[in-house]
Symmetry: C2
Subunit: 252 residues, 2 copies
């Protein structure tokens, strides 16, 4: 069952930790902003502040990519932008399809952050025949019937599911059968996929529930100061920072 291909002693040490991968886009964004302001170099301290992490972590992260900095100076912004882009695979074109063009699907279609990072919305797909042909974000919506053909014609390997929960697994199955190997799931349901397919999920209500947990705890601490078990100190508490992401990749 378990794919034991953990061994990767091949050429370079391509063992970038998942937590690091998850932060690369963050660094990339900060670097892009610097690049636009024509800042030539940046120190780990400055860049870390811009990205909302601490500098030791950032340096460690970069060390997995290689030695791209200059001691005593810092990092060359343009060079680093290129290296991170390449590492993330953003130097190539990734056609994606978005399935389920409700409010959320439309928001995704309109989201500028995709196109500017190598992602091209190859098609919008919806099950509602009334939607077919209607343009959203300048792209005509196509009917679910065409899903397989669209995937094939465009060589799509990344699919975004923004359907209601009830339809998600079925859509997922069809995407996978048609050749999609990475799925970003916005539907509040657990998707089952075959081995070799990555799923990441974004769950709006889960995020709120996590906030509610912390919020409740804050409220409780104000009054219920009597619990001896509570170490009084704000144990890792308050500021989650820009971090706080839980690895959601299910390598199945």
């Amino acid at each position: 069952m378990a794919t034991g291909r953990t061994h990767r002693p091949a050429t370079r040490s391509r063992g970038i930790p998942e937590a690091t991968v998850a932060r690369l886009p963050l660094y990339l964004r900060a670097l892009t902003a610097l690049s636009e302001r024509s800042v030539p170099t940046v120190s780990s301290e400055e860049l870390a502040a811009a990205a909302g992490v601490n500098s030791a972590k950032l340096r460690k992260d970069f060390s997995y990519l290689g030695s791209y900095g200059t001691r005593g100076v810092g990092y060359d912004v343009e060079y680093l932008v290129y290296q991170i882009s390449r590492e993330l695979g953003l130097t190539q074109d990734w056609p994606v399809v978005i399935v389920g063009i409700g409010n959320l699907g439309a928001a995704l279609a309109n989201y500028g952050g995709f196109a500017s990072r190598g992602f091209r919305v190859a098609a919008l797909i919806d099950a509602d025949p009334a939607m077919a042909g209607k343009p959203v974000a300048g792209i005509p919506v196509r009917h679910t019937d065409e899903l397989e053909k669209i995937i094939e014609d465009n060589g799509v390997s990344i699919g975004v599911i923004a359907t209601p929960a009830g339809a998600a697994q079925q859509v997922c199955d069809r995407l996978v059968a048609a050749g999609v190997t990475s799925i970003l799931n916005f539907a509040p349901t657990v998707l089952t996929v075959p081995d070799g397919v990555d799923v990441r999920k974004v769950d709006l209500s889960i995020e709120l529930q996590i906030l509610a947990f912390h919020e409740q705890r804050k409220a409780g601490e104000e009054t219920a100061s009597g619990d001896g078990a509570v170490p009084a100190k704000r144990a890792g508490a308050a500021n989650q920072g820009p971090d706080g992401d839980v690895p959601a990749v299910m390598p199945a």
Copy 2:
């Protein structure tokens, strides 16, 4: 229950790991589905499968909440639903405001998953005067000018930011100044907040970039040492040129 060993440590151990907290909503959803099908009890194995985690992890997670299961039997569904809801603070009402009513804000306003879990959309707020009064998801949009008053009047402690990146920090500052202590940020920017304020972020493009990283690696492995475990349908590995290409990403 002859032994007087009554387990009631629920509100004692305030040391619930963050990773566990992040999974509680997942369990809650799976349990809610079981509850709706009137399933009385469930084993850690079954529930773990439904939530997409492994059973040892689930049992460990629950052990932080207390001993709510019965050895040899499993967990009482209704009881667990209640305990987890309480732990997450969902047994109380959480008024939230959504700021920035574009496509995404509208999607959030329409998202049913909020209301069903104790979150009440107290107000929708947008900076565009033309939006004011216009109903979205049955709730009239109000102008940013009223932000502080709305927060106060409704006792809002959780705010959702769905504005463009450029406006996010300013909106954040106003929310915090008005009394909000938890923020869910959808804008692609790092927010700076004072101590004691929680920020969680959901970044659409970051998730896609992480997928792209893994997708790229898959494509590279096909040609490398063949494990054979991954059948890998011929996904659109269109752009194979790994090197030589000039950074086609980002304005330079």
